[in-house]
Symmetry: C2
Subunit: 408 residues, 2 copies
């Protein structure tokens, strides 16, 4: 029913904004390129007859009116920001699948009972500004507005300043209370290897893993790499290196479901012949069980303390982001299943390894997610890829699921 070619073409058009040499995208949140992507999306939505609202977190809502404008809208969406070396599908697929649903409804002159909206959530990736999903988090009341607007990038610029700068600091309250959501659906690439390995086209997402993110700073003593004897060193990088290995051990111990990653590390002063005096790094823990996540937390803290003590380092450790495992609402999961049946696609249930805006929306509205495979399970990588038929199938399921909810 949906037009897979039109959807694919729009994805490829959007992928030109911030295109990278290896076929990926670098469109970091609230940069000029993010603004270009937003402008293009807004233009496409206006062309499709939608009205546009922007809230104080820069979240964009494109609305196709329903027969009963008083009903809360059925919303879909995702994000347009990317990782520094991101792909052409992560996030943008969910946004443009939503636009394709609206375009399809227009083609059919189909009037839904409830309004239908496509949302773009600001800074989902959490790469330029930590944490992830900060603006859907504000919308869901998990974070307050001040917290959201004061998130800083590595250069000290805040989300609030950057929203102003690119012209996406809107007038509306960034809150589900001001803008109730009837139901929320999100289509996304799996970003993992399971669907492709099992040759399934659709993943019905029933749950999402819990996450804990940390920032650690080790401080030792900067000193000369030549005349400073091994036994007089307080090498902050040696400490950080041992934590990287410990984090990996903790991940392996709770595998196959746990994930444990050090993704970011900054060494200071970062000079070849200076023993590093200061190292900043991050830890990312995930598990579908909140208890195991708490156990990983305890194990990691013990390791960090032990390692800091054995080298004589000062340690600052802060958990900057935490959310419990998410269970998606039964009626939305059922609507997705029904959509899959109607399309006749191969399917399996999935637990999402990544966080998604849907995880926060699930706190304030019935929510569900649709996964499609990606090549080799690779995401957060310029080579991220997906087959056009997967992309079309997920959008088809999204249309069906939204129509069920919009006409309930």
């Amino acid at each position: 029913k949906i037009n897979g070619e039109r959807l694919w073409d729009s994805l490829m058009e959007m992928a030109k904004i911030g295109a990278t040499p290896k076929g990926g995208v670098c469109r970091l949140a609230l940069t000029d390129l993010d603004k270009q992507g937003r402008d293009l999306f807004v233009q496409w939505c206006k062309d499709a007859g939608c009205t546009i609202r922007v809230d104080k977190m820069g979240n964009i809502f494109a609305r196709r009116e329903g027969r009963n404008p008083a009903l809360p809208p059925i919303v879909t969406g995702s994000h347009l920001d990317s990782q520094p070396t991101g792909g052409r599908f992560d996030g943008v697929y969910g946004v443009l699948a939503g636009l394709e649903v609206i375009r399809t409804l227009n083609d059919l002159n189909y009037e839904t009972e409830a309004p239908v909206e496509v949302a773009v959530w600001t800074n989902e990736e959490g790469s330029r500004f930590a944490p992830a999903m900060v603006s859907s988090g504000v919308f869901a009341g998990v974070f307050d507005l001040d917290y959201g607007l004061s998130r800083k990038d590595q250069d000290g610029r805040t989300m609030g300043e950057e929203l102003e700068r690119i012209g996406y600091s809107g007038p509306d309250d960034a809150s589900h209370a001001a803008h109730p959501v009837g139901a929320y659906f999100e289509a996304h690439i799996e970003q993992g290897p399971i669907l492709e390995a099992e040759d399934k086209t659709i993943g019905v997402v029933t749950d999402a893993q819990g996450q804990r993110w940390y920032e650690v700073t080790f401080t030792g003593v900067e000193s000369h790499a030549g005349p400073t004897p091994m036994n007089r060193r307080k090498d902050a990088l040696l400490g950080a290196a041992r934590v990287v290995d410990a984090v990996n051990r903790i991940g392996l111990k709770h595998a196959p479901t746990a994930c444990a990653t050090v993704g970011m590390m900054t060494v200071y002063p970062n000079s070849r012949n200076v023993i590093p005096g200061n190292v900043f790094f991050t830890i990312d823990f995930r598990h579908p069980s909140d208890d195991v996540l708490a156990e990983m937390d305890r194990e990691m803290r013990a390791e960090v303390d032990r390692i800091a003590a054995e080298i004589g380092l000062d340690c600052q450790l802060e958990q900057i982001f935490y959310y419990k495992p998410v269970k998606f609402e039964e009626s939305c999961v059922a609507a997705v299943r029904k959509g899959v049946e109607e399309g006749g696609f191969s399917v399996r249930d999935m637990v999402s390894g990544a966080g998604h805006d849907a995880c926060y929306l699930a706190r304030v509205a019935p929510a569900g997610m649709i996964f499609v495979p990606c090549i080799d399970g690779i995401s957060h990588n310029e080579v991220e890829d997906a087959k056009p038929e997967w992309i079309a199938a997920g959008c088809e399921v999204l249309l069906h699921a939204m129509l069920q909810k919009a006409n309930e």
Copy 2:
């Protein structure tokens, strides 16, 4: 005999150029601040009646003429560049101690037989541009001029371009053949803890450790930290972390004399929720025995190969800098000893842990070094410090040693 207060005041005046909040100095090679430091030194030398020569590597020679201008000059000196978070003494002490020798000779109207010169060697630290001591190396014929001028910083700017930019690309050949040196002395802070711990004022440097510097790049697969199972990862940072620990083990195995350091590490794409696909890091090995240094090299290569294989990483490993342990010339060591006796200072023999321009000069001229203590053995750190009486004592010894050689 020398004027300790004048020397100290000049050191403090120079330390204003690139002063850092914690009392140190950031005067990276061939930056605008390096130019300011050079300009000040040149002005002071002109005020002291010296003539100035600059060679193609930007090495500066300030000359006080001797009774016999045909004799090769007795040269002293060191460097004005610093680490990113460097101190007020590393390098600049050797330069300004040389200036103080000339000022003292002027005060006394003392005419030496051979000319006396103070040299400033470009980019000794090897921090902005690797390797260390590149311009004294070119002067000594260890590197050719093209190699020296083509050294690049992290932003891809070359030493040649930067010398032009700050106006210190001189006309003279950067070669001992074009400018023979009668003898070379260098005063320097120890940069290690031994002299202070043993309450000695002067270290007579008999040897310098050998060094090997490496660059390593590990390449794995960038992927999403959430949905990528532990057993499907090729985490470049995990590999680098294990090498940091292995390098430390190799250093400890050959302690107390060995040093082994990873000082620099850059993680790519450096995003919290991305498994690092690429990590660049450096290794710095030192030992007074060339055989042990070769053994450390073999051990490290075996570890790097093992670690890369166990994680499935591609590995590029390059040794970018190597020099054998240095033995300083007997007559110069004797001249330093004699200077210590005349001053009546407490003394011990030392092996230099750091590399110095004197190590390369030793290949083309009789050379010797004088160490003075530094507080807590700390160097390559903003808090680097020394007592005025140590600073004065080292300069006194330098004066005596140079006069012996200049009047031989």
